[in-house]
């Protein structure tokens, strides 16, 4: 991986950004950070990262929106995405928050609970890998190495 090739870390939690940054640094990866969906879309255009670590539940534009835009854009479609998210979002369990955001972005296409909705959408948009929080550093590094071009 050359100096100009960066991994984009998208997460709204400062704690998680610090944790992930440390893992990436320790393993010799370059990275850049976006703290919400809109920042992530900007960074995708400007920085052209080689891989994205994407959180799902974020204020404003969610990770799902970012993933959807990436999958629809031929220039961004080939960038590998690892969804790094809380287990509730991934397994589709009952979650009471976020319903509004989902109905705003996806109209009637909103499942019974937001957790299930995300679960279904993740199946539609097919991220290259999904890692649940808490992140196991060794697992994350292995997945990154596997997916990097």
């Amino acid at each position: 991986m050359s100096d100009t090739q960066k991994i984009l870390v998208v997460d709204d939690s400062e704690d998680h950004i610090m944790f992930t940054s440390q893992i990436l640094e320790d393993n010799g990866f370059q990275y850049t950070v976006a703290r919400n969906g809109s920042e992530a879309l900007d960074a995708l255009q400007k920085e052209r990262p080689v891989l994205v670590l994407l959180d799902i539940l974020m204020p404003g534009k969610s990770g799902l929106n970012v993933l959807k835009k990436m999958r629809e854009d031929p220039d961004l479609n080939s960038i590998p995405v690892i969804v790094v998210s809380g287990s509730g979002e991934i397994t589709g369990v009952d979650m009471k928050t976020g319903q509004e955001e989902a109905s705003e972005s996806y109209g009637d296409d909103v499942a019974r609970t937001y957790g299930e909705f995300i679960h279904d959408k993740l199946e539609d948009f097919k991220p290259d890998a999904i890692i649940g929080k808490p992140v196991d550093p060794a697992n994350l590094v292995a997945k990154i190495n596997e997916l990097l071009p």
């Binding site: 939690s13 704690d15 998680h16 610090m18 944790f19 992930t20 440390q22 893992i23 320790d26 809380g86 287990s87 509730g88 397994t91 589709g92 369990v93 009952d94 929080k133 808490p134 992140v135 550093p137």
Partner: protein, 420 residues
């Protein structure tokens, strides 16, 4: 005396008779209304209600003694629940076999029985009279029927007037019994509803706390990683001992959060066709080291002929992990104790997973509480949720879990999963 006078006297006598009869009828009616009132007023305490009903019945029917006899279906005994009469206190611990005596006959046959000469009745059991010195002359027994299930009977003893029990007494007693049965059903229903409500509330609270706990643990884990990385860079050395302690306790916290989430409703089972032997197989492999460290022996005997069945493998894994972990804990104090894990089929179509240990075993009181949330005998090592989670997952599979235990000899848990 003149003829007219005689007829006058007769008329007065008749009127007196009618007046007396209507007074009795009025008393009985008022009594019945009273019992109805009682039943609707003290719905949450069956004990109190029964005592009052039995007292009222004694009064209305004008008898020497009355008792509510309830069936204890587990012990297969009849228990005297509430009593009136001179010998009430002596009888409060008295029990009968399920079909013993006139009351046993009434409960077994689910029908009213009247005996005005108990000496002639072959069903009459003299045990109670012999014990108390009471002399029973007549008995009226009416069954307490809840949804066609006979939960007990009202046993009414010795009508005070000479004629013994008549048809009206039977009707009255049946009227009271019907109301009592409704009250019992109401109490049972309200208790079940209360329990379900309590469970749901606990589930919601537990799941909320668990989500928060998990989020904070994510942060703690990240912080620990960053700290470890910084310390290593600064000193060129990793101070393992402290980090190991932190790691170990964070893992325990994470286990607790996971148990709490699995225990509350927030878990969606994912079913797939599974080779059931693989699950206990991998748990046994995982726990082998722990078994050796504490000097126990962990064996696995799979039934290789089992067909694949549809289960939520992660859920069943969690159940087996909990049960084997408990079995090893139970064997800690007994050097060389064996934990046997096996699979097999029973009743032609059921798959059974058995975890049997030679550990400390459990007494009856413990056995009655093990599936309750937050019950634990393990002190700081237990979350009190393991078996609660296990039962929940088993129930999600329409399966059942059974436990046999003998103090100081060991415990066997069996999970019966429906086959294909």
């Amino acid at each position: 005396m003149f003829k007219g006078d005689i007829s006058k006297i007769k008329m007065t006598k008749d009127r007196r008779k009618i007046d007396q009869s209507s007074r009795v009828l009025e008393q009985e009616l008022l009594g019945l209304i009273d019992t109805a009132r009682l039943i609707h007023s003290s719905i949450h305490s069956l004990d109190k209600l029964m005592t009052l009903i039995v007292q009222k019945t004694t009064e209305i029917l004008n008898v020497e003694a009355c008792s509510a006899v309830m069936r204890d279906s587990e012990k297969k005994r009849l228990v005297f629940y509430a009593l009136t009469g001179k010998k009430a206190s002596v009888l409060s611990t008295f029990e009968l076999a399920e079909d013993e005596g006139v009351v046993g006959w009434c409960i077994t046959k689910k029908s009213t029985i009247v005996t005005n000469k108990v000496g002639d009745d072959p069903q009459f059991s003299q045990r109670a009279d012999k014990m108390t010195g009471f002399v029973t002359r007549s008995i009226l027994c009416v069954p307490l029927l809840v949804d066609d299930d006979c939960v007990g009977a009202l046993e009414i003893i010795n009508k005070k007037n000479k004629g013994g029990f008549n048809k009206r007494d039977v009707l009255l007693a049946e009227g009271i019994a019907d109301q009592v049965a409704v009250a019992i059903q109401n109490v049972q229903l309200s208790q079940a509803a209360l329990k379900a409500e309590r469970r749901a509330a606990i589930g919601e609270a537990v799941s909320g706390v668990a989500h928060c706990l998990k989020n904070m643990l994510n942060g703690l884990q990240g912080g620990l990683y960053v700290l470890k990385s910084d310390v290593t860079k600064a000193t060129g050395d990793v101070p393992d001992r402290g980090f190991e302690m932190l790691d170990r306790n964070m893992k325990r916290l994470m286990d607790l959060a996971q148990d709490m989430l699995s225990c509350s409703k927030d878990r969606k089972p994912e079913y797939e066709l599974t080779d059931i032997n693989e699950i206990p197989g991998s748990v046994v492999e995982l726990m082998q080291q722990r078994a050796q460290e504490q000097g126990s022996e962990l064996r696995f005997t799979p039934d290789e002929s089992l067909d694949k069945i549809t289960v939520d493998p992660k859920g069943i894994y969690r159940c087996i992990l909990n049960l084997i972990s408990n079995a090893l804990d139970a064997c800690k104090e007994k050097s060389g104790a064996v934990v046997n894990v096996s699979t097999g089929t029973v009743n032609t179509n059921e798959v059974v997973i058995r975890i049997s240990d030679q550990g400390c075993g459990m007494d009856e009181a413990t056995l009655n509480s093990i599936f309750e949330p937050f019950f634990s005998n393990k002190g700081p090592d237990g979350t009190g949720l393991g078996l609660s989670v296990t039962r929940k997952i088993v129930e999600e599979h329409n399966a059942r879990i059974e436990v046999d235990s003998v103090v100081n000899e060991g415990t066997t848990f069996s999970i019966y999963l429906p086959g294909q």
